[in-house]
Point group: D2
Chain length 410, copies 4
């Protein structure tokens, strides 16, 4: 057992932090301003210049596609354990991952394509995604059913000759608001008569296929997250070649399992980064402002919260790193309890720390003068995305109880 980052990781952390100091933090206000002025000019759904300017710099700095596992297309790929502390840093500024081509849902989509797509599909979609030329969306959740139970997913994928015909309504298709979003991975029901967990498939659908209409953006608290966005999308008789189906009919759950592990680790590491940033702002602000005769940071209740925040951040980070380590060493399946655990604890922890930080900032905290309220809204979705807390807690409990069921059976 050993708790230090490797020299390689430390070096990359240093480089990434330097990039933040030089290019990310100084542009936080500009990013917001650019979107606001786009919105005022009538359309917030366009890519920001600030990110487009920064992407080449990140690539030059060797900070590009860091999320990539080692593979033939990514010989310099990182392990989950190596990527985790870098991903954490990106969590400090919600829009920053795109600068490094490390943003959800593209990373998950790229991994899915890498693992399960044909070479033709990879050439067509994975390559431009890796270059950061296009973006992608993952169409899973549906408005009409409790999508937390993925067997409820109703969007139909029916074979018709050498095509699949897709019909359904999806929502919370994150990233589909961006005009650069050119491809979707769609989860749907291809095999309604198969066993419960073998009814679903995943299929690659170009965003401009006839029959697709992006209906509206959904808001998260009051944020529409333009230009990224969370879209409601209707698919009416959308036809794609059968070769666009990933892995095989009825194997959607299998892909989901493979896909979700790394995606969750990434979200969790970013949650930790968001919490660290919040604690940093909380400390700074609490030393600057005085009420009732002494700085807020010297008041007992503030100190209690700072201490509790530090404890919970440290513990969450360690569990997330351990989950990453297990994914690297024993595989995603053996690590599924740990992945479920961090899926629950990381956003809840971040929400608590953010809320304390907001409280220390007074009214300013709920506004966009500080990045706290937006980060909170962002984290709040993570208690629902990829399955709500309740589903993951049940999974953890089942794994725990199974150990005793097996004993009783013996």
């Amino acid at each position: 057992m050993q708790f230090d980052y490797t020299p390689k990781v430390k070096e990359m952390q240093g480089r990434l932090l330097a990039f933040f100091e030089q290019h990310i933090y100084p542009n936080e206000r500009r990013y917001l301003d650019e979107i606001r002025s786009n919105r005022e000019a009538g359309n917030a759904w366009v890519a920001t210049r600030v990110i487009e300017e920064l992407k080449p710099l990140a690539r030059e700095a060797g900070l590009w596609n860091l999320f990539l596992p080692r593979s033939t297309r990514a010989p310099e790929g990182l392990s989950n354990l190596e990527y985790a502390p870098l991903c954490e840093i990106m969590g400090r500024v919600p829009w920053s991952p795109e600068v490094f081509n490390c943003s959800a849902p593209d990373t998950g989509n790229m991994e899915t394509l890498e693992r399960y797509a044909s070479e033709a599909l990879k050439d067509r979609w994975l390559e431009p995604l890796l270059r950061g030329d296009i973006r992608s969306a993952f169409l899973m959740t549906e408005p009409a059913v409790a999508s937390s139970d993925a067997t409820n997913i109703a969007c139909s994928i029916e074979r018709d000759g050498d095509q699949y015909v897709i019909n359904g309504t999806k929502w919370w298709s994150s990233g589909a608001g961006d005009p650069r979003c050119k491809v979707y991975i769609v989860m749907g029901k291809s095999s309604p008569d198969a066993p419960r967990h073998a009814q679903q498939s995943m299929i690659v659908v170009p965003a401009d296929t006839p029959g697709i209409s992006v209906k509206r953006p959904l808001s998260v608290y009051g944020y529409d997250d333009a230009p990224h966005g969370h879209m409601e999308i209707e698919l009416r008789n959308v036809r794609v070649p059968v070769s666009n189906l990933l892995l095989g009919e009825g194997r959607g759950f299998e892909i989901a399992q493979g896909r979700l592990g790394p995606g969750r680790i990434h979200h969790c590491m970013r949650s930790i980064g968001a919490a660290e940033r919040a604690l940093e702002l909380m400390c700074t602000r609490s030393l600057e402002r005085t009420a009732f005769g002494k700085p807020i940071g010297e008041q007992g209740v503030t100190q209690e919260r700072i201490a509790q925040a530090r404890c919970e951040i440290e513990m969450t980070r360690l569990l997330t790193l351990k989950a990453a380590y297990m994914m690297d060493t024993v595989g995603n399946k053996a690590a599924r309890a740990e992945i479920a655990m961090i899926k629950v604890v990381a956003p809840n922890m971040a929400l608590q720390v953010l809320d304390w930080a907001i409280q220390v900032h007074g009214a300013a905290g709920v506004s966009d003068d500080f990045p706290l309220a937006y980060a909170w809204a962002n984290q709040r979705t993570l208690r629902l995305a990829d399955g709500p807390d309740e589903v993951h807690r049940n999974a953890i409990a089942r794994l725990e109880l199974n150990r005793y069921r097996q004993m009783q059976a013996v």
Copy 2:
């Protein structure tokens, strides 16, 4: 001791609920749509037609200015205990209080004018406010200081002949975004050399006085609350007649005490209404959606939260009603511990219930397809407005400890 509402109150509750069924709930979507279309047309900062249409109906239905304490101008005024359950109902829909001319900060400003303004000021400002012709704002919080400690308020009010000259920057001036907002009550420092709690004054300032500029709206978790708004306002050499000062120089704290009691009760009752609505939506939704083989409402964790929500709503309501009763019977000062208690517990309770309700709604809960996320953002500000939780908890503790200090002194 007796826990039933009076027949008078029950009758008014019935009338108000009927009005909600007929006029408020059916217009919830329209209200949002109207603001969105105003925004898309380039200006969200205009009064909505829907509220203007409903105001005369409320007045006809005898549901107007219900918050008013009995007085010469309001012979039919209600006690705090009578108003409380009506105010709770209005809390179910955040924009509804304006329909009944019962919205903050107008109610608090009307009470302040009623108690402390000259007849001339009442004629000029109170009358149109009571008629719902204009709106008002309360300029207290400042960006540069920890306003939780009101002695930090720095905006200066200097006498110059028969005028006061006001200089300062205020923010979170709620309601000042509305074009109908014609008058401000401003808190500032008139007597910097007086004892700590006698330095502040309150003064009436017409919104169109030269030297005033409304700089920008602040957002609350992504919501700008247009057309109401929370504005940053600069006052540069703003001059008003000396007769605009309320009560006397250095008596700002005294007014604040008188003003805040009822205002807090109102906020708390609305918080309870918001929580009741959330619980209602939570129950309904949980029965409609099925996951993992049974309705969400029949799953243990959901039931635990429903039960806990019901318990906490009931308890918070009773404490709020008791505080109202004490204000009516022994006065705001004797009721100050109870007022501080509900100030802390009501929004925290509502936030918890809303968050549980959001979780049951899945991703839909964080969007504006349901009124939950907006209500949450709204409630979150109430842990800061009129003093943060921490300040009120300290006040409660001091009152509690004083009982023992006095014993020890004996």
Copy 3:
């Protein structure tokens, strides 16, 4: 709605508080010492002299059988709402209720006999209980089954001619350790083939009936609660006349419902008294002790807890009083949601306040130099006795959800 106690109640509170000042608080140490010296002398399972001395004084002071509802045998009986604030005071000292003949489980047993027993049984058992000459126990919980689901209760009650024959093992039979405990009310299964909720009966069993053996006392944390005790009792072919059966075969649940309402209110009011005492000790101690340069009571974290304790005590008391009011006005059945609510919130609240008080006392808090640790252990059992929290929360949720189920059905 009206939040003041009646003059009658205030007068009784005054009298009871005076009795506490004069007779209860000064004997707290003596009570513990007497039990310890009994224990050292070889037998702690004897009635204490201190309580026997105080009982006549309480009776003289008109503070006897205060729990009694108005009836022919108790023409001066009190309503639940009247008794509640008196019962709260008794909660301040765990052994004090017996002084006033108001201790569990005797009160519940007396009410059960009063409502459901024949005149002959009343003469035989109710009269000496009302005089405080004997004590009683309620034999419900069983070690072999999850008794939280009372349909699991397995102790058999079989008719054999004009007798019932009882066989089973009970535990947590509180009070059965006392040599004055002369009668049991036993819950058992008389009608195993009846519908689920009509299988159980209650029957009166003299403690000296052949076949009964009291096996051992159970401990609560490290306390054995001598001489009261929580006993494990075996019943082997215990025979009683058929006339000892209460109300009728299969009506045990019906009696349980009638019995538990008042019993729960009493427990809850005592929990509130325990919490008030804890808060009092917490305040006093926190002002006496200084650490890191100022009294503990002036440190922010302590103040936060004092404030939160005050809020939660007030709210719990109001809900409990409302439940009492409803029991008096609309009956136990209509009040069942409120009764379930206080059953959950009162002991949890008391445990929290006690734990905070213990923390302020440092190591002394966990010892018996202060009454806090014992009170905590005592309260902890109330999250299990008469049904665990989880069962009551489920009941509350079901009632809440039923309102919406009915709407949907319409």
Copy 4:
């Protein structure tokens, strides 16, 4: 970074677990019974035979003095990181550490002697402690002052010729109830005029020195912890040679710092073991008992708690291991934030898990039929021992805030 235990540690874990299966678990009931029968026979303050029988077996099994850091007297000593997972296992049964000569406060006292005592003192006291022939106590806390602030410690240590004369009253001197307890380390004030943190010294005092009287055992939630015990001890003109002073006059704080780090790690690891045991019992019981139609373990609320328990145990263990790692690699001082963090989180976590486990066991949970209630009482003291939570949270917050104070100063 690497999350597996070394082969050496795994081998030792295996051996220790086997010892538990064979010798500890089968003797749990016997240990309680032996103490009860000692108590019934008139004296519980004697060493148990069961532990004396097991000690030689542990020594034979190479499971002796495992806590020892590598040193000349312990060439086979373990690092903190190696010892931690072994210590965790011992936490599963509260009395088990003594079997391995690894019980508090002896371990801390042995370390203190090893580091700071003269060779003569080591020969006299350390050697028999290492052999497990005698036991020891640490006399720190005083009844008259808030000992959480160690500068309050008032016991005087005055030089008189070649002796020190000690006067004071100590309590919570754990282990001093055992007749084998032959030596104390006493903290007292030797230099009242020195700077605040240089007034205290530590001194070795034989338990049979004239002037010492052990007054009484203190109880912990009803448990007296015989034969170990937590004693109140009076010291009146107790004289020891000057050579018994450790390290030097006024260096008591320095020793405390050195002493407390490892001691805290040990407590925390045992807390984790206690929590693991509780979770194990919770799972087992919840599968065995059925209520309302299904096993308690299949009910949602139970599953939620099992999941949450698993998450919190994992996180706490990782943070504790990291603290151990830091102590081993960068030293106790650099690790002081981490040590303070685990000091807060470990017992709080264990208390929560134990409380959930108790709730699943129903009334049985609060009794001594299961080891849960006792373990809870035991853990509860750890939120106070070696400084209450509040003090450690303040220390963590100060360290955190200092980072920002330094930045501001730059």
